[in-house]
Structure formats: C-alpha cells, structure tokens
C-alpha cells in the first residue's frame, strides 16, 4: 500500500465523466477540482447538476465512465476498500440502522471498520455525549427527531476517524437550533484537521462554512473560488449606500451639489438616488435584473425627506475603498453622514446569475 505524501490534495478529481446507462447526456461532463487537506469545500448547483454523481464517484457508489478521482492519493476506481477506510458519508436522508440501538449503530459501524472493541465503546460514548445524545443511547432511532438523527449520523461518520467527510445537505429540514449546533460542530471538526466536502442549497450555509465553493450545472463546474471572489463576479454587484442629511434645508442647490460631488469620486460608475417610495431595489433602471433579488434598502420616510435626508447608492468596481472619500464628499457638500454601508452581491445572486432562474 502506498503512503501518500502529505502534500497530495485530500480530493483530486481530473476530467471526470459519468454517462449513465439509458442516458444520452453526461451526468458529469469533464469535471476537475481539488480539495486541499483540512479544507471545507462546498459543491453547489441546482438539482440534477451532477453533484450527487460526483460525490457518488468519490464515495465508490458510482463507477466513472472517464477521468480519475482520488482521495488522499488513493484512486477511487482501483482501490475502493482503501477509499472506504478513509471517508465517511452523511447523507441527506436518514439511513440509520433501525434494527439496532443508538449506541450499537456507532459500535457496529466502528466494528465494520476494524476499530477495536474497547476503543469503539469509548469513542461511541464520547461522541454521543458530545453531540447531546448520551441520555438516549439505548433507544432505537424510530423515536429520534430529524435533528437527532442528523447528529447521530455525524457521530457514526466520525467513529472510524475518517480523513474526508462528505456532508450532503447536512442542515436540510432542521430547526435553527440544530442548524447552528451543526455549523459549530462542522467548524470544530474542520479545525481538528478533517477535510469536508459539503453540498447544500442553503447559500448562507455555504457562505458561512466553506473556504472555497464550486458551482456546478449541467455536469460541469462553472466556477470554483472563495465566496468573496465569486461575489466579485457580478458586474456592479458592489455598491456603497450612503444616507445623509443636508444641514441647511433652505439650500435648494445642496442636494444637486452633493450628488455631483459623489459622482465625481474616482472609480464611481454611477450614482443613484434611492427613492423615498416603499421599494427601492438595488440598480433599478440600468442595473442587472438578478440584482433585484435579495437587496434591501431602508426607504427614506416622508418625515426624513422634510428634514433633508437623502440616500445615494454609489456603484464602483471596489465600492469598499470609497468609504472615506464618500464621507468626506458629503461633509464638503454641507451635509452630515447618517449611515454608510456596503451592499455586496450575495452568494445566491451569484448562483442565480450563473445557473439562471428557470425551474429544474
């Protein structure tokens, strides 16, 4: 057995192709990516994008038609037993062994993986306590809630100390408490050195947990980068919103002067006044249509209008760098700053931008 060098990636996928029997198109169509050791990597995509197939190949449930995939330097197709020893899978839906008691689910899992009796008993008890299941370890899982089942599946996955953990939509259908708990657990497992490949439809989850994110569609990886870099992909997706009060409300020209000085700032491509009406979406007229989702801005109330309060939105390549200059411009124009914040494109906007809005 070859011992992989410590600099080999945790997961390495090269030109992976999968064509299912009875299918005319490739479910996975030339996918390549790497997951570094100790990384949380997110695989995102609409239903049917090829995520499940990709994970299927990596977890030995799907035989690839072409290309290669390896985990910790071990080829998936050539040595499935070696792979199974190093990975753990937490599926979307419970596949817990309902014939066994909770604790036995863990100890038998460990036994399947050659973990010695003493060690598996100690580990099972420790994990059950850690995941808040210690008090109900002698029950069967029939009476477990969705959140408990999910935690138990994570405990089971950890019983044989895998190197790579596959999490398929781990917090789908969970209450907020369970979701937060799992996020914390996932982070701390990762800090202990576990490499995690995560799929999710929850953009917030991907954004919060993943160091890098690949977005897949129609069997191909469209982008693969950090969340921050992905958000920069959307042209003009970055804006600075500044609310200010014109001090001398009798100065009729102050409003236009303020607008002109903001427009004159270096790098600003467009200045837009946020209407005082009920809805004021980002980039209304000329902006991209995707940006109409998920953007919230506080409309100026009629009272504020009377008090001389106006809100402008500044579009620029790097809106963050405008903060100082914009505040200065407001002050110079004889107004004061009431609020100033950056509006960034969300991951969801990136996702929709790349994969479109039509239903699958």
């Amino acid at each position: 057995m070859s011992v992989p060098a410590s600099n080999t990636p945790a997961i390495e996928v090269r030109d992976l192709v999968k064509l299912y029997q009875k299918s005319k198109t490739n479910a996975v169509d030339g996918v390549s990516f790497e997951v570094r050791r100790g990384e949380i990597f997110g695989l995102l995509g609409p239903n049917g994008a090829g995520k499940t197939t990709t994970i299927g190949v990596l977890t030995t449930a799907v035989v690839p038609t072409g290309g290669t995939a390896s985990i910790m330097g071990i080829d998936v197709a050539r040595d499935p037993i070696g792979i199974k020893q190093r990975i753990a899978v937490v599926p979307q839906q419970s596949n817990l062994d309902r014939s066994l008691k909770v604790r036995e689910i863990l100890t038998f899992h460990a036994a399947y993986h050659s973990v010695g009796r003493k060690e598996r008993e100690t580990r099972a008890d420790a994990l059950l306590d850690e995941l808040g299941l210690g008090e109900r370890k002698n029950e069967k899982v029939n009476r477990y809630s969705g959140g408990m089942a999910q935690r138990l599946m994570i405990a089971r996955a950890l019983m044989h100390s895998p190197d790579v953990l596959f999490l398929d939509e781990p917090t789908n259908n969970l209450d907020p408490q369970s979701r937060l708990f799992l996020w914390d657990r996932i982070r701390s497992l990762n800090q202990q050195g576990l490499t995690i490949l995560l799929t999710t439809h929850d953009m917030d989850e991907a954004d919060k947990l993943c160091e890098r994110i690949a977005i897949m569609d129609r069997g191909k990886i469209l982008v693969n980068n950090t969340s921050a870099e992905l958000k920069k992909m959307i042209p003009g997706g970055n804006a600075l919103e500044i609310r200010s009060r014109i001090i001398d409300s009798s100065d009729k020209l102050a409003h236009q002067r303020l607008r002109d000085s903001l427009q004159a700032l270096p790098g600003v491509s467009k200045v837009e006044e946020v209407a005082a009406g009920p809805v004021a979406p980002i980039a209304t007229a000329a902006g991209p249509p995707w940006a109409q989702r998920g953007s919230v801005s506080v409309p100026a109330s009629p009272q504020e209008e009377e008090m001389g309060i106006v809100t402008f939105r500044l579009y620029a390549e790097n809106a963050g760098s405008l903060v100082g200059a914009a505040a200065q411009a407001v002050l110079t124009a004889g107004a004061e700053v009431r609020d100033l914040h950056l509006k960034q494109a969300t991951l969801e906007e990136v996702f929709i931008y790349l994969t479109g809005r039509h239903l699958r």
């Binding site: 057995m1 299912y20 299927g56 977890t59 030995t60 449930a61 799907v62 035989v63 040595d79 499935p80 037993i81 070696g82 199974k84 020893q85 190093r86 990975i87 753990a88 899978v89 599926p91 839906q93 596949n95 817990l96 062994d97 309902r98 014939s99 066994l100 036995e104 689910i105 038998f108 899992h109 036994a111 399947y112 993986h113 050659s114 973990v115 089971r156 044989h160 100390s161």
Partner: protein
C-alpha cells in the same frame, strides 16, 4: 488502522456485519421461530394427526411427507431471511448503506446476507425435528443411519433457499412485492415435491418434468433419501442422490452468482 491489509480489513468487516445480523435475530428469536414454525406445525398436525386419524391418509404417508415439510421450512426460513430485508433496503430504507461503505468488496455484503439467511434456515430446520417428534408421536419415523448426510442436506437446502432469496431480493421492487410473492412463491411451493414424492408422479409425466425445474424438488428428495426409513424392507424410491447433490450445488452457485451481480448493479451505478 490504515496499515492493515485489504484482506484483513474485509474479513473483519464481513464478520462484524454477520455479527450484527446474529445480534438482531437473537433479540427477536421467538418471533423468528414463530414465523418459521407456525406453518409446519399446522401441516404436521393436519397431515400427521388429523388426516390419518379420520382415515384419509395412510400412516406411512407421514414418513414420506415429513422430509418435504422439513425442506420447505428450511427453504422458507432462509429465503425470507434475505428477500424481504433486501427488497426494503434496496428500495427506500437504505439502511444497508452503512454496510456498503464498510471496507469490503460489495459482493461480500450480499454473500453475508446469504450465509446469515442459511444459518436461519438451519436453525429452523433443526427445531422442527423435536417439534415433529412431539406432534407425531408413534408416527414419527426418521432413519438414523444417515445423520451426517442429513445435516449436509439441511445445510444445502438452507443455501438453496438463501440463494433464491438473494435473487428475488435484488430483482423485486418494493411496489411489486406482494404480486411477486404470489407469482414466484406459490408455484415454487406446490411444484417442489414437498407434499408428494417425486417417483409417485410417474403417472403424470409432464408434471414430473415440471418439478425438475424447481430446486425445492431436489431438496425435498434429498431429505427424503436421508430421512425416510425402509418400508417393509424396501427403500422408498427417490431421485438419485448424486443428481440431487449436483442440482442443489448448481442452484446455489447459479443463484449466488446472479444474485451478487444484480446486487452490485443495484448499489453501484
């Protein structure tokens, strides 16, 4: 842990999975026995006690029929031990996933099912002898000079049932289960020479030929060969024992080969 050979990893996983099944069955041993023995119990009572008692069957008939009942009991216990759990597991429960992710070749997960189911069959088969003795009393007649061979026949019968169970379990979809049970089960049950000896079918030649396609026929005839004592010094005619052994081994080999292949197809795409 990573330094263990693939072989020892697979062996450890295999025995752990077998142990799981044994632990679960051990916990439900009484329901298992009830399930396996209820039907033969009534068969023995009606055919061994009631019918001869009211003069509708000769006493000797019991001796010829007992091996058939033993065979059927073993066969069904083994078959049910693999078919139903497998249909549910492969259909939607997916509880087997954890075992499929254990470090052993996928076909071994299926083989484990067969071996475990065969153990169930052997247990059911062994329990039926004292039961028959208790119900039949004087009419209980089993020759004792073929005991080793009888043990072998019980084991083979269990393997035949488990093998067929594997094929059925991997082929049947959950939504078809009741229909398929009727379509496969009923003919299997009645063409398997369990309630009549094969040689007695000489007069219905076509049916006699039909029964030869049922593996259960060989099991029943083999058990008859090892169990039925000579009547008035004459050995009861059965299918040739070498044919029986050959057919049973062929059936086991064939069903396990086909079954593990279809199993693999169901779990690995």
């Amino acid at each position: 842990m990573h330094s263990k050979s693939r072989f020892s990893l697979a062996a450890a996983a295999f025995f752990a999975i077998l142990q799981r099944d044994i632990v679960i069955t051990g916990r439900e041993f009484v329901p298992f026995l009830l399930q396996a023995l209820m039907q033969p119990l009534f068969f023995l009572f009606i055919f061994g006690k009631v019918l001869p008692g009211i003069g509708l069957a000769a006493g000797a008939f019991v001796a010829v029929m007992l091996p058939g009942i033993v065979g059927l009991t073993i066969f069904l216990a083994a078959m049910q031990g693999v078919t139903l759990p497998l249909v549910l597991d492969l259909g939607f429960a997916r509880e087997i996933d954890d075992r499929l992710l254990a470090p052993l070749p996928v076909p071994l997960v299926a083989i484990e099912k067969v071996i475990f189911a065969a153990i169930r069959g052997v247990i059911a088969g062994s329990v039926i002898f004292p039961l028959a003795y208790w119900i039949l009393g004087d009419r209980y007649a089993v020759r004792s000079d073929h005991v080793a061979m009888l043990a072998g026949m019980i084991l083979l019968t269990a393997c035949v049932g488990a093998g067929i169970g594997l094929v059925m379990g991997t082929v049947i979809k959950p939504e078809q289960i009741s229909l398929m049970f009727t379509l496969i089960f009923t003919p299997l049950l009645f063409t398997g020479c369990t309630y009549y000896p094969w040689a007695a079918l000489n007069n219905i030649r076509w049916f006699q030929v039909v029964t030869l396609f049922n593996p259960l026929t060989y099991a029943a005839e083999g058990l008859r060969y090892t169990m039925v004592p000579p009547v008035h010094g004459r050995v009861v005619p059965t299918l040739g024992i070498y044919w029986v052994l050959f057919a049973m081994c062929a059936s086991i080999l064939g069903t396990v080969t086909v079954g593990t292949k279809t199993f693999r197809k169901r779990v690995v795409n």
